[in-house]
Symmetry: C2
Subunit: 179 residues, 2 copies
Amino acid sequence: MSEYKRLHRTLVHQGKITTTYTDRMLLPNGREADWDFIGHHGAAAMVAENEEGKILMVTQYRNALERYTLEIPAGGINPEESMMDAAVREVEEETGYQVENVEHLVDIYTTVAFCNEKIGIYYGKATKKKKQQLDEDEFVEVKAYELTELLEMIQTGKIQDSKTISGILAYYNFVKKKQ
Amino acid sequence: MSEYKRLHRTLVHQGKITTTYTDRMLLPNGREADWDFIGHHGAAAMVAENEEGKILMVTQYRNALERYTLEIPAGGINPEESMMDAAVREVEEETGYQVENVEHLVDIYTTVAFCNEKIGIYYGKATKKKKQQLDEDEFVEVKAYELTELLEMIQTGKIQDSKTISGILAYYNFVKKKQ
């Protein structure tokens, strides 16, 4: 393998959930180059199946895409919280459902070319319904879908969020087919 | 649906492949908040099957993760180039293989919470082997894998790149099973 070395990391901007840096890299060919690096503290997501066998999905406004998107419940990780606990808490907050029998599904790195964001994706059974407890800048609509509907929505491009595609397809191939 | 409105977008930093902004948002509850926005021009990727029925994969160093990762071939889109042409070109540059019978598979948004990066993922047949033509800061190792090996590497966490997980699982479920 060729060897890369980071010579410097320069902080450019501290955002709300991301930090922008410029990394000065020494390349295997001996030359130097500046590469972008966006730091992120990671997130957690959950494929939560309700008692009817449907998957809980949330619709929310995504400013980055300037539209609403259909996604599995997900959110950031609080200080000293495990990824699994964060995933369970986010489902409760966003959908009102408690989740039990939680298992790890896959971890994804969302965009490896410039960002270290890792999303831990879990699956579990959504049981007792409580009440949505959203953050003050969060407005989310909840609906449950059959897994077959979600597969079709991925195939036809109605779902395009990478954590949702990865989570739903991994759940279908690695969990449901084994049951 | 609740209404969100972007009041201002402030340029913070122009990077090499990303642009960092702060967006001032008017939330449905009437309050204002600053949200991060990372602009990106998009990328293209390819699930390329060779004449032995194996999938071409590349290993490269990812500074953001500080390690080597196993991925499907991918890269940025040149000005006035279509996503499909970019995917074909990236496979040729990174692996040396020409790709034919190219079809669209899925588009993914890598990380919708703060970034507009879209990756168009295609599939095709890798045929004639030519020669790798890498960018001057690009060093890539190429190897072909059985689809079943790749599925197992996703399930066991050896592959964690979101475009690769989305692309391989979509190819398995939406293309191979229909053949």
